[in-house]
């Protein structure tokens, strides 16, 4: 069980690394948010679950933190992407279609 926990922690650390790399390499805000949010969410799941496996006393609280991150992290990035869209930050030149024109207030 302890070895399984450390494997989970290693996978999570690798996804954290990928999240940072994605934030640095992608060309505009929306693509950066895509890479950052997905990679760090699975990375946190994996690390926190791994910590719960290594030390079983921490497992209930670790599951609570996982549920909390799963609820808040996508909402935060959604709000941020919406704000970036509303203040008119231009997407990259590669962007082809934009069907959401005139999307001002809810």
């Amino acid at each position: 069980m302890i070895i399984l926990g450390y494997i989970f922690i290693g996978i999570g650390a690798f996804f954290y690394f990928l999240g940072g790399l994605g934030i640095l390499r992608m060309p505009d805000v929306y693509n950066r948010l895509q890479a950052g949010t997905k990679a760090t969410t699975l990375g946190s799941f994996s690390v926190i679950l791994g910590v719960g496996f290594v030390n079983m006393d921490y497992l209930p609280k670790a599951l609570l933190i996982i549920a909390f991150i799963a609820l808040t992290n996508p909402v935060g990035s959604s709000v941020l992407a919406r704000a970036a869209y509303l203040i008119g930050i231009k997407p990259t030149a590669k962007t082809k279609v934009d069907e959401c024109k005139g999307g001002d207030e809810i």
Partner: protein, 85 residues
């Protein structure tokens, strides 16, 4: 298990370095905020890992409160940017 701690901190350190570079370089304020959001989630996971390194369960509570505050912070700054135009 000492080597594993080193591997974890090296990988996470590179991730934090990259997003910190984006926070310094970012052309717009939304880029900086995206990097900050990523950084916050990475730090929440790292604080949970510190509970294992220092063998102290108190770090889990700290991680929970840190995650809560970072979510509120992201939403608040995003709403502020939205209103500023």
């Amino acid at each position: 298990m000492n080597v594993l701690n080193y591997i974890y901190f090296i990988l996470v350190g590179f991730g934090v370095l990259f997003s910190f570079l984006r926070m310094l370089l970012g052309p717009t304020s939304a880029d900086r905020l995206a990097a900050l959001d990523t950084l916050n989630v990475v730090l929440t996971g790292t604080i949970v890992f510190l509970a294992l390194v220092f063998k102290n369960g108190l770090y889990l509570d700290i991680a929970l409160v840190y995650g809560l505050l970072s979510f509120v912070e992201t939403v608040l700054i995003a709403r502020y940017l939205e209103g500023k135009k």
